[in-house]
């Protein structure tokens, strides 16, 4: 049972979590380091509902390597989610060699990815809050997944559908509209904005 950190949400609720969980957030980590005496960290900009979701995510990721930002380590041949799009110059790292040969590691990572994808299959509002919280608390993996979740909502929709989804209004001038139609006339399914 490691050391615990106390966090106080914007609406005054207290959450006590293990260090490993809380330290996924770089902000919390640096605050804890500075503030030795006071082990209660206030987070005024995150309310309790969001904070509990965030901590749920962190708990799941507490003892795994950062799978998303280091996705480059998993070679394209083995990763069904990223078809080589994450392959960077580091694709010949030793971690890639390991996950290539170690089936158990690969399975564990894939399971985590699946869990994450389910985690962000929530309504848009929550995704936005998670995104802002991840940004504020500087949690890499959550940031990655929340961004992915928001992108998922936008993907595959034409402009009118996107507007409906996010309650946006068309504020282009007629000239701009013409420009846009012209500019995107090459799309596979051209739209009428």
């Amino acid at each position: 049972m490691g050391k615990t950190i106390k966090l106080i949400s914007g609406d005054g609720e207290m959450f006590e979590v293990e260090e490993a969980v809380a330290f996924q957030s770089n902000i919390i980590k640096s605050l804890a380091d500075e503030d030795n005496a006071d082990d209660c960290i206030p987070l005024p900009r995150v309310d309790s509902q969001i904070l509990s979701k965030v901590l749920e995510f962190c708990r799941k990721h507490a003892n795994s390597p950062s799978v998303h930002t280091k996705f480059a380590a998993i070679p394209s041949e083995l990763c069904p989610k990223h078809d080589g799009s994450a392959a960077g110059a580091s694709s010949s790292e030793s971690s890639s060699a390991h996950s290539e040969t170690c089936r158990a590691c690969y399975d564990a990572v894939m399971k985590l990815v699946q869990w994450d994808l389910e985690f962000v299959k929530v309504d848009l509002d929550l995704i936005h809050h998670l995104l802002k919280a991840a940004n504020y608390l500087d949690i890499e993996d959550l940031m990655f997944m929340a961004v992915e979740g928001a992108a998922n909502a936008i993907r595959g929709n034409n402009p009118e559908e996107i507007r409906k989804l996010f309650d946006l209004e068309n504020d282009f001038t007629p000239e701009e509209e013409k420009e846009i139609l012209k500019e995107y006339s090459w799309l596979d399914d051209p739209f009428e904005p």
């Binding site: 110059a89 809050h129 993907r155 507007r163 946006l168 068309n170 090459w186 596979d188």
Partner: protein, 578 residues
């Protein structure tokens, strides 16, 4: 109401102004003597020689009169951009402020009109009647039109401003987070988002969104301008560029052993077959040979960090243009060139000379079997120039065994190799790898539909596998719609080659996924009519059973069986090779 205003004593300036459209200056006005104090008149007078007239008999009454077409002298001549704040009264000099206030009242009255369409028309007609001169009537009507369109424009601008503000409150993320989200979108979704509203449009111009540009489409619509623009947007962020025509953008020509081990092999290479069909007569790409120029400009700013370049069926691309582009992209890791009319040797020379970090190269000919330009020196230079190569596919070219051997022995990290639909390659390159330091490093070997692949070589390789060689091998595909070539004459085919060896390997090396699908014995094969027919569609009847190797069970040992039939190998004239 006018009466009240006058009662307060505020100077009311009733201006009847005819406006010169371009100048936005009052051109001629006539002054009223009655209500305007000297100051106001002077204000106007100093702007222009303007006088103000009061229209008799239209002062009061239940229907307020819109008499004034007031043009603030300081309305700018240039068009306002929608997001700009409309110049408020504070923008005008103090002495014009009374005019602005009057405008507010006038506008309010106007908007309060219970039945504007009727009342305005009626009033306008009455005003016209009161004018004596034709030129005055013309000016009146013109003025009304000016005023009307000015009001319409102002209202539209306000509506857009309000829409923008609404969007700011609807969308909860700041632009930096929005850009992060957009950077995950595929190119098409990004364009859709950019067309949604001005806020998204602005975010979508950030270079971060253009890291992975995928402009492939089923129908050619993209032209050079679109490509250049996007590359410019990306600037130094460009990591991946995919261009051209693909029949199914979702499928890739990339090999995935884990997911394809139980799937029909056609699916892995199905795309390449359909692309092999000659595209003459089809709508050709709008992309020309210069479509990649944007990579080379500015000292190859964009090309420098490009990691992945995939080009599909760009008709007009030629070898020099491609080589120029390759020379601009020195850090490429992943290159796919499919269906382009480029020469293998020169392209590989360019690759070997420039792309020293290359890890994956897929090269598929647009012209099955005709390109035999590859020579040994190019192979040697490739091996030296691209030491990190892990995955190599050369499909549809004329490849000779000794050259292949140079490649396989030379690339120390080579794991995946695909020479499907190659001509001339017989399999001798697989000999004598041994199991020591000389061991064959390949994990994946695909020799699908290699016309000249000899049964005897395959047998030898399979025997070596049984003896423990090819210890890294996990996937082997020697399927062939024409069976394998007999020893001395490739016109003679073996349709049930290496049957026992294959089953032995399957038993003793279960980690190897072995695909060896050959046409069932005795079926008439009419597939050599012309190259059009040698496309994927002819595979259908032969490979119905995808889980088992489809050998006809009434064959004997199979190896020595050389069918009597001498099929007309009418595969164009590529096969002068002996």
């Amino acid at each position: 109401m006018f009466t009240n205003e006058r009662a307060i004593g505020r100077p009311v300036v009733l201006t009847f102004a005819v406006v010169d459209r371009d100048q936005f200056r009052p051109v001629s006005t006539r002054a009223t003597g009655r209500s305007s104090p000297a100051g106001a008149t002077e204000a106007w007078a100093s702007e222009s020689s303007s006088t103000i007239s009061r229209i008799p008999n239209l002062d009061a009454g239940p229907y307020s009169v819109f008499r004034a077409a007031v043009m603030e002298p300081l309305v700018p001549k240039r068009r306002l951009c929608p997001s700009a704040v409309y110049p408020t009264a504070s923008a005008s000099p103090p002495r014009a402020r009374p005019v602005v206030v009057a405008t507010d009242h006038i506008l309010e009255k106007l908007l309060a009109l219970p039945d504007p369409f009727v009342s305005l028309e009626v009033s306008l007609e009455r005003l016209l009647d009161s004018r004596l001169l034709e030129v005055e009537k013309d000016q009146l009507v013109d003025g009304a039109m000016e005023a009307g369109s000015a009001l319409l424009e102002a209202a539209r601008r306000s509506a857009r401003r309000r829409a923008s503000m609404h969007n700011c409150s609807s969308w909860p993320l700041a632009s930096d987070l929005t850009i992060k989200v957009f950077s995950k979108l595929d190119t098409q979704s990004l364009c859709h988002a950019a067309a949604t509203c001005s806020m998204f449009n602005k975010c979508a111009t950030d270079p971060m969104c253009y890291e992975n540009i995928d402009l492939t489409a089923e129908v050619p619509k993209v032209n050079n301008t679109v490509v250049s623009k996007m590359i410019q947007h990306a600037g130094k962020n460009l990591q991946s560029l995919k261009l051209g025509i693909r029949s199914n953008p979702a499928s890739t020509t990339e090999f995935r052993p884990l997911s394809y081990s139980t799937i029909h092999p056609m699916e892995a290479s199905g795309l390449s077959w359909s692309q092999k069909r000659p595209r003459q007569g089809r709508e050709t790409s709008l992309l020309t040979r210069s479509c990649l120029l944007a990579l080379s400009v500015d000292g190859s700013a964009a090309g420098t960090l490009l990691r992945r370049l995939h080009l599909y069926n760009i008709d007009k691309m030629d070898t020099s243009a491609l080589c120029t582009a390759l020379s601009a992209c020195q850090f490429l890791l992943d290159v796919e060139v499919v269906g382009l009319h480029v020469e293998l040797r020169r392209t590989l020379d360019a690759v070997g000379a420039n792309c020293h970090h290359l890890e994956r190269l897929i090269f598929e000919s647009s012209d099955s079997g005709r390109d035999d330009s590859l020579n040994s020196s190019t192979c040697i230079e490739m091996v030296n120039g691209c030491p990190n190569l892990m995955s190599l596919a050369l499909r549809g070219f004329k490849l000779h065994d000794h050259k292949i051997r140079i490649l396989i022995k030379g690339f120390h990290h080579l794991k995946i190799v695909d020479f499907s639909t190659s001509y001339a390659i017989t399999g001798t390159f697989l000999r004598n790898f041994g199991s020591g330091t000389n061991a064959c490093p390949l994990e994946v070997l695909i020799l699908h539909d290699c016309l000249h692949l000899k049964e005897v070589e395959v047998s030898q390789a399979l025997s070596a596998m049984l003896a423990g060689d090819f210890k890294f091998l996990r996937y082997l595909d020697i399927s062939n719609k024409d069976g394998l070539s007999a020893e001395n004459d490739w016109n003679y085919r073996c349709y049930n080659p290496c049957k026992t060896l294959i089953s032995h390997v399957q038993k003793q090396r279960p980690e190897i996924c072995l695909l060896a699908k050959f046409p069932p014995e005795g079926s008439l094969m009419d597939i050599f009519g012309d190259s059009e027919l040698s496309s994927g569609t002819s595979f259908g009847p032969y490979f119905t059973d995808s889980s088992e190797n489809s050998y006809s069970s009434d064959q004997g040992s199979g190896n020595e069986d050389v069918p009597d039939l001498n099929f007309p190998f009418d595969l164009d004239h590529e096969l002068e090779f002996v």
